[in-house]
Amino acid sequence: MAHLPRPTLSLFLVLSLQIIFSAIAFGSDFQESDEEEFSEELLLRPLPDRKVLAHFHFESRAPPSLSDSHGRHHHLFPKAIAQLVQKFRVKEMELSFTQGRWNYDRWGGFDPISSSNAKPPGVELWAAFDVPQYLVDASWKNLTHTLSGLFCASINFLESSTTYSAPEWSFHPSSGSLRYGTLPREAVCTENLTPWLKLLPCRDKAGLSVLMDRPSIYRGFYHSQQLRLTSPEFEGRLESGIVLKQTLTVVLQPDSQGASNTYSSETKLQPSWSLSSIFGRKVTSRCVLAKSSNIYLQLEGGLVTELENVRKENVISWIDNVGSEGWRTNPFFDLSVNPDSVLREVNSLHGSSSSVLYEYSVAKYSDSRPFDLGLKWKSPVVWSCPQAPLHASRFLMGSGNERGAIAISLISTGLNEHFLGANIVEGSCKLEVDIFQVVPWYVKVYYHTLRVFVNGQPQAVTDVVEKMRVSPSEDKVSPGVMELVLKFPCDVKSAALTLEFDKGFLHIDEYPPDANQGFDIPSAIISFPNFHARTHYFEDSSLKRSPMLSKFQEKSRVRSYSEVLLVPLTTPDFSMPYNVITITCTAFALYFGSLLNVLRRRVGEEERFLKNRAAKKAGRLAQLLSMLSAKIRGKKWEHPQSPSASSSFISLKLIVKVVLVTGIAIAWQYYSQ
């Protein structure tokens, strides 16, 4: 840390100041009452590619269990979760069910949602336990089974030691008690959502969760349902109990019918949407048990910049126009409902304009007056989302069923220049990247073949790799884990890592059903420890901070997941064992039978018998032949002398045999050359 350049240091100063500020803000937050609390929030954000992001955030808090007879009695907090935490001594846990892939290019990569709610497809589970080291694996196994029962998913497949790993520093700081596992092929559907909703006090009967109309949310482009648990009490911090954060992030495509056709310009108008059009439902009431239930509409920094540009042209300042109508209408869009308040991001680190948050409180609305927020676009607007410093993608190289290579490519998004633009002059600016990669054992990665390319030029590994931890896979026991810290120069345009591997062979009963589909390599996690995704909105200090906004404020490193790779392995014909058994047995049986026959053969007797028979047969055949020739010649047939005929036939047979043997010998000679 000592060799950090000065500008980064100043950046850190800003960050640490912010930490102090937020710590003060949190100070009031953590004066918890002994009550269990619940709050519900929904964040809506129009995305640049004509889609809408909806992010539900439900948070339940339980008071420290020590004051409540070891947490046996619950009022709002789900009993199942509290018991789970108590039984397995879970310090922290995150479980996510995801369908689809987060599009980092278009939906952003540098905001709290994309770095903590963009998850790899399938199931991802990690948990840290407060148990001695030797018990961690046992706790993990029990936990996977319990969760699998709780969420109707095959999480129990994470029990096997070949599926989970223990990252040490690149994923999440923990002292060896963390386990991480993914199931990339787990299908996510309503049967996983229902038990997740069961943990909410109002389930989907009232409140914001009413919006979760199953067909609409599963129709989306991206669907990630997440459950995050923190129980700091095991760490000796008794001031707060278990915190359960349940989030559901969906990216939906509003129907664009009858909206955009009026504009003929090449930039099409964004489709207008409302809650009822994207979810098919309206918010009728809040969950009465929730301490707060709010809906936020977020306008990203890029969009706000565009807005401000227009305003400048119209010589009306954004800030000046604080009239109640001013928020609702602007040159770009109209909102159907007036926001209760508008929050601005305090300081954006991305250089561009800070984002704006419209806040709506659901408490005012009822069955007779349902809340249906609508956004109507009036003119086309193009903006871009904040991006992570490097855009990561991963792909396979090579062909065939024998070997291949994994490549991780990192392409600069231009942010780092922008962000650390001033540093390039000094030349010592470094961009730090952490990579965490788990590879199943049957993909045998040769870690010594790690090669690094920066801007297309091969580089010595030691120049780029700052720190490295590799635990090679062990057949049928553990997966291969690679943790890397890379340092690139700030002006890096592109970088790539390649690793070669051999495809292993599995035992016949280790193949999953439908093995010909291929095998998944879980997503790699690429994180940027020096970049923190946090948005801090300015709020009245009198108001109690909303749990979702304080979550956004938490310092979390920018993180992105790479694609899941599909590796085709050689799959055997699964009836092979029986074929092998049958053919071997047949060969053995043939061998045995002939051996036995040879042993009990009487050569002399057979020869005599054969001669006898041959004589008979030959006589008849010769008779027939002579009869035929006689007929052809038209002469009277006469009985020939049998001995002479037979002897001549034998000699003929002998000649045929000799010819056959020589033929075979010639063929053999010919083909063997």
């Binding site: 409540d68 007879s69 046996r72 009695h73 619950h74 009022h75 709002l76 009993k79 199942a80 018991q83 789970l84 108590q86 039984k87 319990t146 709780l150 069961k198 006090p201 109002c202 389930r203 009967k205 009232a206 009431s285 009465v288 048990l289 408490a363 009822s366 029986y578 058994i581 049958t582 071997t584 047995c585 047949t586 053995f588 049986a589 043939l590 045995f592 039978g593 036995l596 026959n597 042993l599 009990r600 053969r601 009487r602 002399g604 007797e605 057979e606 005599r608 018998f609 054969l610 006898n612």
Partner: protein, 602 residues
């Protein structure tokens, strides 16, 4: 090759040429005789191959055999037969104390004892039920009259009763009498004290410990009848009425644990939200009960509050009652398993029994909600139980008025007093789930006795009954579990059985036998412990993961793997041996024929 091997069987067999050439005799027919002994080289060879195959078979059989730990099938059958034929009975000791009766010739202790005994035998159920007292009762009678104090003799125990100590007791205060009698009687003996007094009305009270007393002007015969009835119906059978839950349904998990899960259901939180201070109830009301039941089960308590949980049956408005009514025939549909996420507890490990107690708060649309009994009356408790599942109680808020104007629902906590009432009902339900009476009056043939309720929920004699029944239930279920395990194992001859299962079965049988022997000695606690152990071991064996898994290597599979080899090979070996044997016999016959001919000739 085949037709060559056929050759020996055919009749036109030709003997060796050497003999043919050398044979000068004209009557030597090579087709029917030979002059040399047939060789046995090939016969020995084929037979040795065949025998080595046959010898190899046991080894092969051994190698493909799956491991099955030997299970004591006979002992298991014996245990179930024993439990079926002679139910588990405990020896019980009774004593009757008659105070203030005139000394008449019929008032001798022995005579009274025998008359009580005959009454009791009449009252006991003919086929003795499991978990009751054995029929050879031992009764001690003490007659404490002004003239003296006489006791029955020839008994292994002597009463601790001090004669004349009755005078100091005031019978108007039941609690006081109970305490005093507990001090003077004590012990494990069930006793009835009959005090012949001046009071007209006869009152019978069963105390919290192991004694009862009858006070009033009673005749001798009446006193005997009452004493016998209290002994049999109350102390032996727990005052149960017919038709209540049978003792075999004991809501105790196989590991001897019960989880009491209390749920407060707010059917519609838009109307009102009620909360409770369960913590205090747990500490004040439930803790003593849990402590009292320690001998029967290990109990833990948890609670939760659920919302948006409407009931799934209908109720109708009744003008007369001014309330909504649901009747007993709606009860099967009352519990709404779709919306009531009562949850099985994660904290409860393995095979604990979870009893759900539900306090249902109706919404404003159906408040107050009352339960109508089949006879048209309104239920006093407003609740019902479902055996082995738990109980439901409908609790109506005091005023069913909802402030319709307010957006915010009423948030209230059920008052401590209301909660106390609720838990009295819940406690009654809990007792009913155990098969005990929920009210404190016993109506017998010879009069009504009031039962003193213990603040611990269960009196000592009730706990005795429960622990007897528990032991019986455990042994029963142990026997049935082991029985089904043995049937299962016998029906699947190629199922792998681990050593561990064999061990568990053996220990379970041992524990069951120990429980039986302890029960016959009258050691309640020891037999309860070992019976619980027997049951849990039996269940462990039955639910052993290796049995649950589908690691069943079937015979068909085995056959499919080995038949491609053994079928053709065995055909070869058998046929070769058979042919050689046949040929040898034929040739030998020829030789013998030649021999006899030679002999005849010479």
């Amino acid at each position: 090759m085949a037709d060559i091997s056929e050759a020996p069987g055919e009749t036109h067999q030709i003997s060796e040429t050497t003999h043919k050439a050398e044979e000068p005799e004209s009557d030597f027919d090579p087709k029917t005789m030979r002059n040399s002994k047939p060789g046995i080289k090939r016969l020995i060879l084929t037979l040795s191959v065949l025998f080595s195959f046959l010898l190899g078979f046991p080894f092969l059989w051994k190698s493909v055999e799956i491991y099955r730990a030997p299970l004591p099938f006979r002992e298991i059958d014996m245990l179930s037969a024993q439990i079926e034929s002679n139910p588990l009975l405990f020896p019980c000791h009774f004593q009757a104390i008659f105070v203030g009766f005139d000394s008449k010739p019929s008032m001798t202790p022995d005579a009274l004892g025998s008359s009580i005994l005959s009454q009791m035998t009449k009252l006991t159920a003919k086929p003795p039920q499991c978990g009751t007292c054995s029929t050879n009762f031992s009764i001690a009678v003490t007659v404490d009259s002004s003239s003296g104090c006489i006791q029955t003799r020839n008994l292994e125990y002597t009463s601790s009763w001090r004669c004349g100590s009755m005078g100091t007791i005031d019978f108007s205060d039941d609690e006081g009498v109970d305490k005093a009698l507990a001090d003077s009687l004590g012990g494990k003996v069930y006793s009835v004290v009959v005090v012949n007094g001046d009071r007209e009305e006869v009152s019978a009270v069963v105390g919290k410990y192991r004694h009862a007393w009858v006070v009033g002007r009673v005749s001798e015969a009446e006193a005997v009848a009452r004493a016998a009835e209290i002994f049999v119906k109350v102390f032996m059978n727990g005052g149960k009425e017919e038709g209540l839950i049978h003792g075999e349904f004991m809501p105790v998990g196989a590991d001897g644990k019960i989880v009491l899960s209390f749920n407060l259901l707010n059917s519609d939180p838009q109307d009102w939200v009620y909360d409770w201070d369960f913590q205090s109830i747990d500490e004040t009301l439930l803790a003593p009960v849990i402590e009292a039941l320690e001998s029967v089960a290990n109990i833990s308590v948890e609670s939760q509050v659920l919302y948006h949980t409407p009931k799934s049956s209908f109720s109708h408005w009744d003008d007369e009652q001014e309330s909504y009514i649901f009747s007993t025939k709606d009860l099967p549909f009352f519990v709404n398993s779709n919306e009531w996420h009562l949850d099985t507890s994660i904290a409860a490990g393995g095979r604990s029994k979870i009893l759900q107690f539900v306090v249902y708060i109706p919404s404003a649309r159906e408040c107050p909600l009352l339960l109508q009994l089949p006879n048209g009356e309104i239920s006093k408790t407003n609740g019902f139980i479902s055996p082995m599942w738990g109980g439901v109680l409908v609790w109506n808020p005091k005023d069913c008025l909802k402030d319709s104007e307010s957006q915010h629902p009423l948030r209230r906590t059920i008052s401590q007093q209301d909660l106390q009432e609720v838990f009295e009902v819940v406690m009654g339900q809990f007792r009913q789930l155990f098969g005990l009476k929920s009210n404190n009056v016993y109506v017998g043939a010879s009069g009504t006795s009031s039962l003193l309720a213990s603040e611990r929920g269960f009196t000592e004699w009730e706990l005795d009954v429960l622990s007897r029944q528990h032991t019986c239930f455990n042994l029963h279920s142990c026997a049935t579990t082991l029985g089904s395990l043995s049937r299962l194992v016998q029906s699947l001859p190629r199922m792998i059985i681990m050593d561990e299962i064999g061990k568990q079965v053996m220990y379970s049988l041992e524990a069951a036998n120990l429980a039986r022997s302890n029960a016959s000695l009258g050691l309640y606690d020891a037999s309860a412990v070992s019976s619980r152990q027997a049951r849990s071991l039996a269940e462990d064996a039955f639910f052993h993961p290796s049995i649950m898994s589908v690691s069943y290597y079937s015979f068909e599979h085995c056959f499919a793997v080995y038949s491609p080899f053994f079928l053709p090979v065995s055909m070869h070996v058998l046929l070769a041996a058979l042919r050689e044997w046949r040929r040898y016999k034929q040739e030998n016959k020829k030789y013998v024929a030649w021999k006899t001919k030679v002999k005849k000739d010479s």
